[in-house]
């Protein structure tokens, strides 16, 4: 494709000189969007993995003189009850220090809340291969241990995953839109080239050139320009994504799993210049075929 013989003077075309720059910009944007898709996908998978198979039991603190002792007794009852549930592999209560550590990412210093009556938490691990009737467990827990409630994380997790999925689809839509804009630009550049070289194309047509012989020359040129633009765009995207990754790594948000790009993400971004070049090549080829179909 690169360096194949061409009868048409397409290399000197002023009309297609902007194409590599536009493809570079589009590749850059696509690389950012693709990185977003893969990073978000990884984030969702990690959230799902971290939270699935775990439950949290919350026990309200009891006020009054014997409040602490009574709260401790209810926590013990809840732990015993949870350990007897079929499918539960472990249940242990978090002490106050551990509970405060969980609040630290949101509140910063926890000194001010240390003396407040905080709910006690019980971390429950469930066998992922067993189905636990959570509604029944929740019901039994509420009846037998006053002030205890079960949180299976699913509601907030599903909302978070829905939000992430929406953003993921939005990013995929942006990539599709970038592809459409790139194609439209190639169509415009190709049609302009067809108009500029109309006379030469007619000569080739009249001496017996098949439509594909002519289309191939435009397609090869579009491939070369888009590939060059794609490499340029990738060259711009790599430092930008590295900077974003570095900034995300520095976030001190313990509640956020670390953002990272899987190997497939790197491969997908690395293939963007080739994808842009193939898209431009196919678009140019189809555009020329459509235009030549009007000749006798």
């Amino acid at each position: 494709m690169l360096g194949r013989h061409s009868d048409l003077p397409l290399k000197g075309d002023a009309t297609s000189r902007f194409l590599p720059w536009l493809v570079a910009l589009m590749t850059f944007l696509a690389a950012v969007a693709v990185a977003g898709v893969f990073a978000l996908g990884g984030l969702i998978a990690r959230w799902d993995h971290d939270v699935s198979g775990t439950l949290t039991v919350q026990v309200e603190p009891v006020a009054g003189e014997n409040g602490d002792a009574l709260t401790e007794e209810r926590v013990r009852d809840a732990v015993d009850l949870m350990r007897r549930v079929p499918g539960v592999t472990a249940a242990h209560a978090l002490d106050k220090t551990q509970t405060l550590a969980l609040l630290e990412p949101w509140l910063g210093s926890t000194e001010v809340v240390r003396d407040l009556p905080l709910p006690r938490l019980i971390d429950v691990t469930v066998d992922p291969n067993r189905v636990v009737d959570l509604a029944e467990v929740s019901d039994v827990l509420a009846r037998k241990v006053p002030g205890a409630s079960l949180d299976d994380h699913r509601v907030w997790l599903s909302r978070l995953i829905n939000l992430s999925r929406t953003i993921e689809w939005l990013a995929i839509g942006i990539v599709a839109l970038i592809g459409t804009v790139t194609s439209a630009t190639v169509v415009y550049a190709t049609r302009t080239g067809l108009a500029v070289h109309h006379g030469l194309i007619e000569v080739l047509h009249l001496i017996g050139a098949q439509d594909d012989y002519i289309a191939r020359q435009f397609a090869d040129r579009a491939f070369a320009l888009a590939f060059a633009g794609g490499l340029l765009g990738l060259g711009m995207a790599v430092p930008a994504l590295t900077a974003i990754g570095w900034a995300a790594h520095r976030l001190e948000g313990g509640f956020l799993p670390q953002l990272s790009l899987p190997l497939t993400g790197f491969v997908a971004i690395g293939l963007l210049p080739l994808g842009a070049a193939v898209l431009a090549m196919v678009t140019a080829r189809l555009t020329v075929h459509a235009a030549l179909a009007r000749l006798p």
């Binding site: 030469l200 047509h205 006798p296």
Partner: protein
């Protein structure tokens, strides 16, 4: 080149009409047959319709009405993707040469071979030979813009004949050359004709027509006045 028995009709026009867009008919009820291996001059005044008739012959247009049969194929019934194969059997010398200015004389002449996928070694062997034959051995690498009108015309003729066509259609091929070169080109056409190529040459040059004993297809006001 395909071998075809002399006498078979390579071109047949039956009541052919042609109009451009919604304009008047520039060709009306054109009916004639040209036998394979024949040599015809196409004559007529400017505007009579010679170029339009030639365009129909080299499949640059389809008729508005009537029937055109080329190489035993009814053009109206021929699928579009089959037409390039028919066009490769036709060599065309355009009145305005229509050379590709960015290509050398050699590359211009090589075009019909390259569109057929002929090996580059064959191209590099045959094209310089033919350009030498038409007196352009020293201009193989010359761009058309550096050539005189006569030299351009010879490049155009070489491009038309390099593929050894069954039919050669030429529009005023000797219009820009001196008498010596004109006669040399006519002898080239005669040689091709002897090898079996059917020749149709549109010309105003009555003196040239008079020097050769070939029949004339005369056209007046878009109608074939006589075939003699």
């Amino acid at each position: 080149m395909r071998h075809r028995a002399r006498g078979e009709h390579i071109i047949r026009f039956d009541s052919v009409g042609l109009r451009y867009g919604l304009g008047p008919e520039v060709l009306q009820d054109i009916t004639f047959k040209l036998p394979a291996g024949s040599f015809h001059f196409l004559t007529g005044a400017s505007g009579a319709g010679k170029s339009s008739l030639l365009r129909l012959m080299y499949l640059g247009l389809r008729p508005t009405r009537g029937r055109v049969v080329m190489f035993d194929k009814d053009i109206a019934q021929t699928r579009r993707y089959e037409l390039p194969a028919l066009r490769r059997r036709i060599g065309v010398v355009f009145q305005d040469f229509r050379l590709l200015d960015h290509l050398s004389a050699l590359d211009n002449v090589a075009l019909p071979l390259r569109v057929r996928g002929v090996k580059e070694s064959e191209v590099q062997k045959h094209v310089p030979e033919l350009l030498s034959w038409v007196g352009l051995a020293d201009h193989l690498k010359a761009k058309p813009s550096t050539l005189s009108g006569g030299q351009k015309q010879r490049v155009a003729i070489a491009r038309a004949v390099i593929g050894r066509p069954d039919l050669l259609v030429a529009d005023e091929p000797t219009g820009n050359v001196d008498d010596h070169i004109a006669m040399r080109l006519m002898y080239l056409f005669e040689e091709l004709n002897k090898l079996g190529t059917t020749i149709v040459i549109a010309t105003h040059n009555q003196a040239l027509v008079g020097r050769f004993d070939h029949p004339r297809l005369h056209i007046e006001h878009g109608m074939v006045a006589k075939v003699e």
